[in-house]
Amino acid sequence: MSDVIFTNEMDEEMTLNMGPHHPSTHGVLRFIIQSDGEIIRKAVPDVGYLHRSIEKIGERCTYPGYMPYTDRVDYVAAMFANECWAMACEKLMDITVPKRAQYLRVISCELNRIASHAIALGAMAMDIGATTPFMIFLRERESVNDLTEELCGARLTYNYHRIGGVSFDMPKGWADKVRRWLDRVEPFMAEFDRLITVNDIFIKRLANVAVITAEEAVDWGLVGPNLRASGVKWDLRKEDGYSVYPELDFDVPVGRGQHGSVGDCWDRFFVRSEECKQSIKILRQALDKIDEHPEDDIVGKLPKKIKPEGEAYARVESARGDMGCYVIGKGAEEPYRARFRTGSFTAMGIIEAKSPGLFLADLVALIASFDVVAPEIDR
């Protein structure tokens, strides 16, 4: 395939394969790189190694039966695809979700967001040469896994959200456990910032690398932390105000280019680290407010037969940005079409355009800073 893409055989340029199995590609993902020494002329991503045809499977499952498959859209942050599918079905069938279930959704999603960003931050540090942060972040993520295991019985692919609500209420004493963990992780994040985020070597490595302007980010459809790092203050949780996010107080961190230009790799790292702190803030409020709503009121009123007709498009702010689910029903038990729009997919599209002129080592930093997860690209 590489000879199809690069036809001119120049002596000094070489074609290099990065992946499919490469430690910094975060899954099975391949780049065909044409380079002149250390400098990239062009890097073409070759995706599809993890394509599991989730959209096709959706046409053969019932609406509730599709939920476990949505876990696999993005297995690092599975809660969001769960929520996205549930919200699309609820929008299609006009189902109201009880407040307590919505709080449980927010709590589970924000826990998952911290876990996902922990992987992103740790893996990014590891990709550019610092091994220790990854180990420490895995420890914190492990605590989140323990908490979600107590909540819903699963550590990675949760299948926790249901159409109309969630599957279980919190176990007794769970809220205090989460609070204790938050008390521990908050000083840890501050310590992490002192050690890594504002570390001089780290800043020199990442500042001004692969700068993406706000205009480019919007044009290429970057979403979530990648978009905010380019200076666009836009968060679906604020703008759409879905679920109970309007009742919660939090900020939207954006890249300000403190150490380089707005939209460089360091900004993308910084935005994720700040978002973890905001998630901690949201979790504390949500855990306090959830008690205002009666226990075990966790599933809304569903129609007797789930055979909707029509179409709906729902969006959630996942750990990788605006995730969309488009569902079309034709009065059958199975959806006629289920489509997922994911943040990693569009982030991959920009790499071919941004790569010319980058150093090979900076491509690794660019991929890591996008926090792409291969299954989310391929679905």
């Binding site: 395939m1 995706v47 599809g48 394509h51 045809s53 959209e55 096709k56 929008k91 299609l92 919007v218 044009d219 290429w220 459809g221 666009v232 836009w234 703008e239 007709e309 029509g310 179409e311 709906a312 498009y313 969006r315 605006d322 969309g324 488009y326 079309i328 006629y336 079409r337 489509r339 729009r341 997919f345 569009t346 991959m348 599209g349 920009i350 355009a353 391929d378 679905r379």
Partner: protein, 184 residues
Amino acid sequence: MAMTPEAIFKRLQEKFGTETVFDFHADPKKDKDPWFQVAPWEIETVCEHLRSEPDFAFNYLECITGVDYPDDHKIHVVYHVYSYPKKHRVVLKCLLDREDPAMPTLVNVWSTANWQERECFDLLGVLFEGHPDLRRLLMPDDWEGYPLRKDFEEKEDYHGIPTVRPNPIELFKITLPSKEPAKA
């Protein structure tokens, strides 16, 4: 100020005429996001206008979806578009002939259309004319057929790799114990 989909539809119809922009759907029971049709061959001019006109300012193409309707002999290409400055959304649909699905590309309007159109081509076989790099994206390069079409049938094997797992009982010639209770 955010505009409703209906207002956007009316403005577009005034500008481009009823032959280009038509068929507004907003049945609250079925169409949770109101949508309307755009003539496939005019989609690029309409979208260029949506993007550049300051009242619309649609700068973010959220999602391109292809849907196959074999009963109507149509393939629908659905565009979900959003505007960051105005905070409004619109849904456009293009109905293509299923036998020869072709329409102009939107790569020159929104760069993100590049990969999304490639995916749509890969899984549904819609030809986006003028696309700079219309290759298969998710499926292998030599894959035959378009998997998200409703009449797609999986072949028995791909390069000698079976797509169906054989029944292990027949494969290994396992003899199952008889169901009759053993006689004493």
